[in-house]
């Protein structure tokens, strides 16, 4: 379901998702309506704007955090005009499972967006390049990412965004084999433990970048 107070954008989102074969069970315009609609329709994923009425600060975010507590099986994908580190931190709060935080412009890239929605609905992660970018800047300045080649850094960023191997291959235009090789190299250079699931991987990468 969708929670977004700008009607035209909401309509566009609905159309995009329906074209991709999803069912939009509810489309609301504020935080309270969001919680009520989730309770009555039980969606797989909630796509919500962070800033909504009545206060226009972070109503959507607060509703989403409430949702994560009450129904952790529902994926939460936050959209915003801005990337604020604090919002990302409170959303992730230890577990990147079923969490997404994207800039509204990303929606223009329809395939990427629908891929992100699927990932979050399935319990994966979808973080905006900008959020990851901030973390990478931190890593770069502390030199801990110095050993990585530029390509490897791209792959690292894509992993932090929550993409699967196939997703990384598509996004960076590589073969899946190359992607796997890069990933192995990265994990080796950064001395990260190898992880089976994508979520664990995202967590490992994020933890690493944050502590850098």
């Amino acid at each position: 379901m969708i929670a977004e107070d700008a009607a035209l954008f909401r309509a566009g989102l609905t159309r995009l998702l329906e074209d991709d074969g999803h069912e939009v069970c509810a489309a609301v315009g504020d935080g309270e309506a969001l919680l009520a609609a989730v309770a009555s329709t039980g969606p797989d994923v909630v796509i919500a704007d962070i800033r909504m009425p009545p206060g226009y600060t972070d109503e959507g975010l607060r509703a989403a955090l409430e949702l994560r507590r009450a129904r952790p099986e529902t994926g939460v994908l936050m959209l915003s005009q801005y990337i604020e580190t604090r919002y990302a931190a409170s959303l992730l709060n230890g577990s990147p499972a079923g969490v997404g935080y994207l800039l509204k412009d990303r929606v223009a890239d329809t395939d990427e967006f629908t891929d992100a929605v699927r990932r979050v609905a399935a319990g994966g992660t979808a973080l905006d390049r900008e959020v990851v970018g901030h973390l990478l800047t931190a890593g770069r300045r502390s030199g801990s990412l110095g050993e990585l080649t530029p390509r490897e850094r791209d792959v690292l960023a894509a992993m932090a965004e929550g993409r699967s191997n196939a997703g990384i291959a598509t996004a960076l235009v590589l073969t899946p084999g190359t992607v796997e090789k890069h990933i192995a190299s990265i994990f080796g250079k950064l001395r990260l433990p190898a992880s089976e699931t994508d979520n664990r991987r995202v967590l490992a990468v994020l933890r690493y970048l944050e502590s850098a």
């Binding site: 700008a6 800033r51 226009y56 580190t85 604090r86 509204k104 329809t110 770069r140």
Partner: protein, 352 residues
């Protein structure tokens, strides 16, 4: 010291006369009050002594007469003077030689006592007038207070307007552009299914990129007007800046109470500009941004271990910050010897 005297006098007036005068006035006016008070005080003293004290004395004449004048008959004593407001000091208005006179004196005393409160009030009124004129705010002080209040209103109003502007931008132009980009994306998807539309698809891609670039610019613009997370406080608002800083920046916020929005905005922009300066010119490896409260004022300290040599050049960023801070009576101090380290301290009141 003279100002202290003024406030001491004001307290006295408040307690004794119930005359509450707003604290103001310069020291010399308090001194002038004291000088002028002298003749008024004399008048007040005279009134009190004559009316109250002698009124009592006169009232009790018969008592004294009977107590002290019980001499055997035949002894003649000098007449006793009765003091009233009329007549010369030391001479009394009339004299009493026998008991009936004592009662006359008593009646006079009663009259004086009755009149006493009125007289006292009259003399004190002169004092009150002096107090109001000299110990209270003069025309300059009133104007000053007026200016301070209107300035605070102007600053708060400006901040509120900027916030509205940012919101209008967010809910207006920005979302429209996002919707535009979204629809273009949908259009592009539809074109993929139609053969022979490669050129059209390329054009749509260019259009989408244009919308995205515009959105990025608007984002920066809006952040310069009113950063979005500032509503949650300085810590949240600056977290994004410090996180994305190429130089490791450590942020600490220790404020027991939030300052007013106008001050928060000024503090935010100071911190942002100082951080940008440190990154650009400093050659630093660590930057610290610290907010604390000192002596009822907000203290912002941005320090880095870089090259130093920061100066407020006319027309430069630091000079601009100094002006901005001066509008609300704040201060900006630069401690940046050549070779470093640099330490800039901004002090702001907690409200405009």
């Amino acid at each position: 010291p003279a100002a202290w005297l003024g406030s001491a006098l004001r307290h006295l007036a408040a307690r004794l006369l119930g005359e509450r005068v707003p604290a103001a006035g310069s020291g010399w006016r308090a001194t002038a009050y004291l000088v002028l008070k002298l003749p008024v005080a004399v008048g007040e003293g005279y009134a009190v002594i004559i009316f109250w004290v002698f009124g009592l004395v006169n009232l009790s004449f018969p008592f004294w007469w009977l107590s002290f004048r019980n001499n055997p008959p035949g002894v003649r004593l000098r007449p006793v003077a009765v003091f009233t407001p009329f007549g010369w000091w030391g001479q009394g208005t009339y004299h009493v030689s026998a008991l009936p006179g004592a009662f006359a004196a008593s009646a006079t005393g009663a009259g004086m006592l009755l009149a006493a409160p009125w007289v006292t009030r009259a003399v004190v009124a002169a004092d009150r007038w002096l107090i109001r004129r000299l110990l209270g705010p003069g025309p300059l002080d009133r104007r000053l207070r007026d200016l301070e209040q209107t300035r605070a209103l102007a600053v708060d109003d400006a901040t509120a307007r900027l916030r509205r502007l940012e919101r209008d931008l967010h809910d207006g132009a920005q979302i429209r552009l996002a919707t535009l980009a979204l629809n273009l994306g949908l259009a592009r998807k539809k074109l993929t299914a139609v053969p022979g539309t490669e050129e059209a698809r390329e054009l749509v891609d260019v259009a989408i990129q244009g919308a995205r670039d515009t959105l990025a610019e608007l984002r920066e613009l809006a952040r310069g007007i009113h950063p979005p997370a500032l509503d949650n406080g300085l810590a949240d608002a600056l977290a994004t800046l410090t996180a994305g800083s190429p130089v490791p920046a450590e942020l600490t916020v220790d404020l027991p109470a939030r300052p007013t929005p106008a001050i928060e905005a000024i503090a935010y922009f100071c911190a942002a500009e100082l951080l940008a300066n440190a990154i650009k010119h400093g050659g630093a490896s660590t930057i610290t941004i610290d907010f604390s409260e000192r002596m009822e004022a907000l203290a912002l300290v941005v320090a880095d271990d870089g090259r130093g040599g920061a100066r407020a050049e006319p027309g430069g960023g630091l000079a601009g910050l100094m002006q901005r801070v001066a509008v609300v009576d704040g201060r900006l101090e630069i401690d940046s010897p050549p070779g470093g380290p640099t330490r800039v301290t901004v002090t702001l009141p907690l409200s405009a």
